[in-house]
């Protein structure tokens, strides 16, 4: 794999950083990341992963853009209202960097589709908004041997970590063995 001249120019500030360089930029181009959630966390996550040149980004979400999303889900604009979030986010990412590939999955992640999907990507990034999906993603990432970069927010607090049992680290169930009872889940 090689960078074309437009890409060399686009990524030149990266190429001159010793921590990235041509080898690193090619690694980014050859990598693939599956993002679950195209909302508040997914917006900046997808926009940055796209801009820096991650070669393939997968987006999973089944929601549509609502007026009340606009103040914080910054990839979506007023004219995107009513569109599937994955389409709106894909368009924003590709407008920023047309050199990459964005695959959209306008589906609810479930037991019968998750493993097939995870197989196609190197890294999983969880920005989902419920416990069922988070435990599903954790277990599927473990069985697929894929590192899981996990972020969650509540009101004014955020939690970020990487679950990577493959690398000797813990998984989500090591951190929290069970979800809160539905009656205690603050919404």
């Amino acid at each position: 794999m090689k960078l074309n001249n437009e890409e060399i120019n686009r990524y030149s500030r990266h190429l001159t950083l010793p921590e990235v360089g041509m080898a690193g930029q090619l690694e980014l181009k050859e990598s693939s990341v599956l993002m679950i959630g195209a909302g508040g966390l997914g917006s900046p996550l997808g926009m940055y992963l796209g801009a820096v040149g991650v070669g393939k980004i997968g987006l999973v979400d089944f929601d549509v853009v609502d007026h009340t999303n606009l103040h914080r889900q910054i990839a979506h604009t007023t004219s995107d209202e009513g569109r599937p979030k994955v389409e709106s986010l894909r368009d924003t990412i590709l407008a920023g960097n047309p050199n990459i590939e964005v695959e959209i999955h306008n589906i609810r992640l479930a037991r019968d589709n998750v493993l097939e999907l995870f197989k196609q990507y190197d890294i999983i990034a969880d920005g989902s908004d419920n416990f069922e999906t988070r435990y599903l993603i954790n277990d599927a990432a473990y069985f697929s041997k894929k590192p899981l970069v996990s972020a969650a927010i509540f009101r004014f607090q955020g939690q970020i970590t990487i679950f990577s049992p493959e690398a000797g680290g813990p998984c989500y169930r090591c951190l929290y063995s069970e979800p809160p009872p539905a009656s205690l889940v603050p919404n």
């Binding site: 959630g37 909302g39 508040g40 966390l41 997914g42 009340t68 999303n69 914080r72 889900q73 920005g127 989902s128 908004d129 419920n130 416990f131 999906t133 988070r134 969650a152 927010i153 509540f154 009101r155 004014f156 607090q157 939690q159 951190l175 929290y176 063995s177 069970e178 979800p179 809160p180 205690l184 889940v185 603050p186 919404n187």
Partner: protein, 98 residues
């Protein structure tokens, strides 16, 4: 000077919206016991019926999980900090009401 317990935003409503509460005690159990004695509604949120910390709540003493020290019996000293960290699952901090 006592032990400072940091309260996560998910539980702040039970402690008059405070970010942290200072208590005294010589173990994590005593410190948290003093907290729930003052703010009784917290108890069912933190402990199960056997008096164990609920599995969706972690308690850290000076940044390490008490499960890997002596649990609730872990000793504390003045100046220590206890952090209560519940499991959260939000992706976009929506206030979705019922």
């Amino acid at each position: 000077m006592g032990v400072v317990i940091e309260i996560p935003s998910a539980l702040k409503q039970y402690v008059n919206d405070q970010d942290e509460v200072e208590v005294s005690g010589s173990s994590v159990e005593e410190a948290i016991g003093a907290l729930v004695a003052e703010y009784t509604e917290l108890k069912v949120n933190l402990f199960d019926e056997n008096g164990k910390i609920r599995s969706f709540i972690n308690v850290y003493l000076n940044d390490d999980d008490i499960r890997y020290a002596d649990g609730l019996k872990s000793e504390v000293q003045d100046g220590d900090s206890i952090q209560i960290v519940p499991s959260v699952a939000g992706g976009c901090s929506t206030v979705k009401n019922s």
